[in-house]
């Protein structure tokens, strides 16, 4: 994938996620919350006579590094959305696919790679034949018909006999 193409994929994916989870606002709030937490803990140490730097180091040692904490909390929130496997996870992903589909109204093009990625997640938590065909169609649009057919190949023929 070219750099331009992968950047635009990233942007589409980011846009889809934002629509879903107000991710940015949640991140900003988590940042502020953790920073305040650390400042409060540092001030407590400074009241006991430590200098600012020493206090910050002690807090890091006792309670964990701020950036690591942020990553841990953030990724757990994100995984729980994808892995809850229940209806909301599924509907949120379906909404994400719709939001990318609706995008050509603004940009004049559909980002099939982004749609394929959402379908892939959807297949993971709610695998149905319909999802798989949707995924194959998106892959075919993004990477060519051969790649799309390869997604359909593993489906057993008796699974589709009654269609």
């Amino acid at each position: 994938m070219t750099r331009g193409k992968s950047m635009s994929l990233l942007r589409s994916v980011a846009r889809g996620f934002r629509t879903l989870f107000r991710k940015e606002q949640v991140d900003r709030e988590l940042d502020e919350e953790l920073r305040t937490y650390q400042e409060m803990a540092s001030e407590e140490k400074m009241k006991q006579g430590m200098g600012r730097k020493e206090a910050a180091r002690a807090v890091r040692l006792e309670r964990g590094h701020l950036e690591v904490t942020k990553e841990v909390v953030r990724s757990a929130g994100w995984e729980s959305v994808l892995e809850e496997g229940g209806r909301s996870g599924r509907f949120q992903l379906e909404a994400a696919i719709q939001s990318v589909h609706a995008e050509p109204a603004q940009t004049g093009r559909t980002d099939w790679a982004a749609i394929a990625m959402f379908y892939q997640q959807l297949n993971r938590i709610a695998p149905t034949l319909g999802m798989r065909v949707g995924y194959a169609a998106a892959i075919a649009e993004a990477e060519g018909p051969e790649a799309g057919l390869a997604v359909l190949d593993p489906i057993a023929s008796d699974a589709v006999a009654h269609y």
Binding site: E29, Y37, R63, V73, A76
Partner: protein, 109 residues
């Protein structure tokens, strides 16, 4: 969670956070200080474990977060126990008592 408190039984941190908030609304740092004080220093919470628990409880509707000014004119997110949270705390406290008594009986046998 730090080394000291890594022995906390899975799920009990959530119960301790609920218990802390049953006393009064508190921000993250307040919760960890209160738990440390109430446990007389046996539990020292690492920020990651604490905020994971907070995130989980808020997502499940057991606590509610609201940004408010602190006494030092900072902004902090204060958490309150919801009706659902209070019910969960009552149930878990009862269940904990039952299990702890059962374990004690086994260990004393």
């Amino acid at each position: 969670m730090g080394d000291k408190s890594s022995d906390l039984v899975q799920g009990t941190l959530d119960m301790l956070v609920l218990k802390t908030l049953a006393l009064e609304p508190m921000h993250g740092y307040g919760i960890s200080v209160r738990i440390e004080q109430m446990s007389k220093g046996v539990f020292r919470l690492n920020a990651g474990s604490l905020f994971l628990a907070i995130q989980r409880l808020e997502r499940d509707g057991l606590i509610d977060g609201e940004w408010k000014p602190t006494e030092n004119n900072r902004r902090a997110k204060y958490y309150t126990l919801t009706q659902k949270g209070r019910k969960r705390l009552d149930n878990e406290t009862r269940e904990w008592g039952r299990q702890a008594a059962a374990i004690a009986r086994i260990l004393e046998a």
